[in-house]
Symmetry: C2
C-alpha cells in the first residue's frame, strides 16, 4: 500500500566517545549527513547535557533527523525520517556510521502513513516553506 | 534486555483538518502533550509549508517529540521518544489523539539502545542541561 514517509530507526554501537560528547562535532555530523543525502536543511537545534549526552534535531524540508547520544555506552540513537522520492535516508544513516566511527549499525525501516490509492491526493506535499520557523518560548 | 529509550511511533488518521494546517494549534498540542506526560521542555521549533503541511519538534530533557502533518490526508505522523522511567510517552500520544480529533491512532513501541546488564553504567543520564541550545545556521 502506498505510504507517505520513510523512517529509519538507526542504532549506532561502539562509537567514538570523543565525538559522542562533543556537541559541535555531533551537530556537524548530522548537518553533513542531511546534506549528503540531498536534503534541504531548514533548522537545527542541539543541546548538551551534564555530565554527558547530546540531543539534537535537524529539520529538513523532507521531514527530520534526530540524535540522542549516550557517550557512557558508546551509543547513539538516530532517526532519519523523509518523505518524497527525491532522497534516500539510508545515505544519511551510512554517512553517520563512518562519521561516528561506529563498530555496528542496525537500521529498522518503517513506512509511515498508509493510504489506499483512491485516497491519494495529486497535491504535492511541502513544495516550499511558508515562512521562517516559529518559536514561542 | 535492558534498554535506554522508549520510542512510540504514532499514526493519527482522520484528524481535524483545521488543526493539522494551523501551525499555532499544532505547536500548542505538541507543547501541551509534552507537559501532560510530565516532560521537561527545552526547545521547540515548528515550520509551516505551502500549500499545506507542518513539521515540528519539541526537544525535551527526556529526548523528543516530532510531528509532521499531511492535512490533505487528515494524517499526522508523531514520534514520542523518552528515556528514563519518570514519564510515560503513551500519555503524550493519547493526549494528542484527543487534541487532533483523530478517528484512529496506531502506536508502535520501539525499544532503543540495548545493553546487557554488565554494560550498564551507574551514571545518571542527562540530569541537567549544560547550556542553552546551539544553532550554527
Amino acid at each position: 500500500m502506498p505510504h507517505l514517509g520513510k523512517h529509519l530507526i538507526c542504532e549506532y554501537y561502539g562509537c567514538s566517545l570523543n565525538i559522542l560528547n562533543d556537541v559541535a562535532l555531533v551537530q556537524k555530523g548530522m548537518h553533513e549527513a542531511a546534506l549528503f543525502a540531498g536534503a534541504t536543511i531548514l533548522d537545527e537545534r542541539f543541546q548538551e547535557f551534564e555530565p554527558h549526552g547530546i540531543s539534537g534535531v535537524v529539520i529538513i524540508a523532507e521531514s527530520h533527523l534526530t540524535v540522542h547520544t549516550w557517550p557512557e555506552y558508546g551509543y547513539a540513537a538516530i532517526d532519519v525520517f523523509t518523505c518524497g522520492e527525491q532522497i534516500d535516508p539510508l545515505d544519511a544513516a551510512k554517512f553517520l556510521k563512518a562519521f561516528l566511527g561506529a563498530e555496528k549499525l542496525t537500521v529498522e525501516t518503517l513506512k509511515r502513513g498508509f493510504f489506499s490509492p483512491s485516497e491519494r491526493s495529486v497535491l504535492p506535499h511541502k513544495p516550499q516553506m511558508k515562512n521562517e520557523s516559529h518559536d514561542v518560548r
